[in-house]
């Protein structure tokens, strides 16, 4: 099976004979110019990335240490201590958010693309569009209000943060999943039906596997989007310096809020606090990178070509 994944389309290798005979110098020059422009634009897009990664790495490395990963900040004044409570918090909160958003989002996209019709479908499309623009802090305030309705004021839980993040994640998962499902050609579905496969089995065994790689990309983008969110978590999960890995009980720290706090209120030992903030940021990026690599491996294993 050849690859027509996001990596490359071999159909566009230039067959020398065709070019030489068919295209005049003007068209070839334009082709070359556009190639240079596109490559240049890509390089331009890479500059901020290089700068960002360089700056975060440069400023974050001084803050890293074994203690950073294994100790929490309980009882620590000034220098010392670590961010293990923040790391665990990020993993837990993001994990729960993904557990909520991914099934709902993908099923929602399946609904939109495979089943939906009439008013419900139009309403869903309309509202998902609207949802993409919710400011992250509003999502946090909403989750806060929702839980305070049931549990009284002042409630702060890890799962509240997850709910707020889900509000931000779901539209991205749905939208990108919908796009990917749309691209799966109808003839695959029709072929399955022609063989007497029921609809649900067609979706599960034909459509989803075909779109699997794209779905994974969409989910990764959504996770990357929320893992660094600060504003909604500030108002929902609270700030605490002790370890807590239970999302349903008590406040939970996470890397984004931790970094923000260290930057905002560094106290007298400014440099140590700033170091911790950058180190937390570096850890966040590393976590997403790892997830991304895992996703890529899954992608490469399962990608399929559409003919």
């Amino acid at each position: 099976m050849e690859s027509a994944s996001v990596t490359h389309s071999p159909a566009l290798e230039r067959p020398a004979s065709l070019l030489a005979s068919g295209a005049g110098w003007r068209r070839r020059a334009k082709d070359r110019l556009m190639t240079v422009l596109i490559a240049g634009a890509f390089a331009l897009a890479m500059i901020p990335l290089i700068s960002l990664v360089y700056e975060v790495t440069k400023r974050g490395i001084p803050g890293l240490s074994l203690a950073f990963f294994t100790e929490d900040a309980r009882g620590v004044v000034g220098e010392g201590g670590g961010a293990s409570h923040a790391i665990v918090g990020t993993l837990v909160i993001t994990g729960v958010a993904a557990a909520i958003s991914v099934p709902i989002g993908i099923m929602g996209a399946i609904y939109l693309n495979e089943y939906g019709q009439g008013r419900l479908r139009r309403a869903l499309t309309f509202f998902v569009d609207v949802m993409t623009g919710i400011p992250s802090i509003v999502a946090g305030l909403f989750a806060c209000a929702l839980f305070e309705l049931f549990f009284g004021p002042g409630i702060r839980l890890g799962v509240m943060g997850s709910v707020a993040l889900s509000v931000l994640m779901i539209p991205i998962v749905i939208r990108s999943a919908e796009e990917v499902l749309k691209i799966v050609p109808n003839h695959l579905r029709e072929a399955a039906y022609a063989l007497g496969t029921p609809k649900w089995k067609t979706i599960v065994k034909v459509v989803l596997p075909t779109a699997f790689a794209g779905l994974v990309t969409g989910v990764m983008i959504a996770i990357a989007r929320i893992v660094g969110e600060t504003a909604p978590l500030l108002v929902t999960t609270g700030v605490v310096d002790s370890m807590n890995s239970d999302p349903f009980h008590g406040r939970m720290q996470n890397l984004a809020v931790y970094a923000y706090n260290e930057y905002r209120s560094p106290g007298v030992f400014k440099q140590a606090a700033y170091d911790k903030a950058w180190a937390a940021a570096l850890t966040l990026i590393a976590i997403v990178m790892l997830l991304n690599v895992a996703a890529r491996l899954v992608y490469r294993r399962y990608k399929t070509e559409i003919r």
Binding site: L91, V239, D241, N244, S265
Partner: protein, 367 residues
């Protein structure tokens, strides 16, 4: 393929290891103190970001001494802190402004304390420094009128006559002045504008509020934001908590006939000389001050931020009351105040002030 499988397995193992280590280092096994205290449970506070660094230090030390208790402080801002306290969501609050009579805030807080009484005491005093970035000019001196004119953009250039008058002998360049203010609502802004409107009302006629009133200046979010903005812009001048000034130049402000520096002692002295605000201190244990910013006494620095601690004398659970009492006792104790001075750069409460404040905390019924 196999190598990539190994990679996935490896990363999963790393994450798992961290999780296991995490579960291991939970709050039950503190690395620090012997935890001789008898208080236990979880109590939560919220409020002022100005107090954040100090609160973090207090919590850390206190938890070292009492390993069974977990205290948290959400730096959501003074407004949020007061709201959460009134709603009953937190046990104590930190606020840059005393509870006001607007919208019945003071009454609501008293109602929250139900059977008991409302406690409101100052616990954090910090001088606000005027920081500037002007290479070649050290020891800038400014009188209040010039200061106000700079910040309301009447004076736009560093070599203006008014500035030169305050700094005879200094070589002032003709750089444009970039006044930096807070873009977020803040207690620091409120205290600074209160100073300006009381001392030079003819120049500064804006209403006092936590929102900076002058449009067109350079605005930054948070104390760190202002400090970074001043550091980045040549010719910039701003106002920020003195402990965060770092390497930036700090201007001396004219008080009476001398130019004063923003030291913790000078800040604390202002509070000593200020009267109680009777309107905002109706109860036995509410101690809110009306700062005397017009003071001209020697050794004072009137651009100061006072932050308050808000609590109740009675709580629903005995454990909660005991924990709150023990923690707040530590906060206002000389050791606690020294710690805050070290870690957050604040001015420790003077002994006179401490003796006024202690009865309020002692009134908490930890029965």
């Amino acid at each position: 393929m196999t190598s990539s499988k190994w990679f996935v397995v490896l990363s999963a193992a790393v994450i798992l290891a961290i999780a296991v280590a995490a579960c291991g280092s939970s709050s039950d096994e503190t690395t620090g103190g012997s935890g001789g205290g008898s208080v236990s449970g979880e109590i939560a506070g919220a409020g002022s970001t100005a107090q954040q660094a100090a609160q973090e230090a207090w919590i850390a030390e206190f938890e070292n001494e009492n390993s069974d208790v977990t205290i948290s402080y959400d730096p959501v801002g003074s407004g949020g802190g007061r709201e959460q306290f009134i709603a009953g969501g937190t046990a104590y609050a930190g606020s840059d402004a005393a509870l006001s009579t607007e919208e019945g805030e003071l009454e609501k807080a008293e109602a929250r304390c139900k059977a008991g009484q409302l406690i409101e005491v100052p616990n954090y005093i910090s001088p606000i420094a005027i920081i500037y970035n002007l290479p070649g000019v050290e020891d800038l001196q400014l009188d209040p009128e010039t200061l106000a004119k700079i910040f309301n953009q009447e004076i736009t250039s560093w070599n203006d006559k008014a500035i030169a008058a305050d700094n005879p002998g200094a070589e002032l360049p003709d750089t444009r002045i970039t006044p930096v203010n807070r873009s977020d609502e803040s207690g620091t802004t409120e205290n600074f504008t209160e100073y300006l409107s009381e001392v030079v009302p003819s120049v500064w006629s804006y209403e006092v509020s936590g929102d900076w009133p002058v449009k067109g200046g350079e605005a930054a979010s948070g104390t760190s934001g202002v400090v970074e903005a001043v550091a980045a812009g040549e010719g910039a001048i701003g106002y920020a908590d003195a402990s965060q000034a770092g390497e930036l130049g700090i201007a001396k402000i004219k008080v009476g006939s001398e130019y004063a520096e923003p030291t913790p002692e000078a800040a604390a002295k202002v509070l000593e000389e200020s009267p109680l605000d009777k309107e905002l201190s109706p109860g036995k244990y509410t101690i809110a001050y009306k700062l005397d910013r017009k003071t001209e006494s020697e050794g004072t620095y009137p651009i100061v931020l006072t932050s308050y601690l808000i609590a109740c004398t009675k709580y629903d659970s005995a454990d909660e009351a005991a924990a709150v009492k023990a923690y707040l006792e530590y906060v206002i104790s000389p050791e606690g105040q020294e710690l805050a001075a070290e870690q957050a750069g604040s001015a420790p409460l003077s002994s006179a002030l401490t003796s006024k404040v202690t009865p309020a905390i002692e009134a908490i019924e930890a029965g």
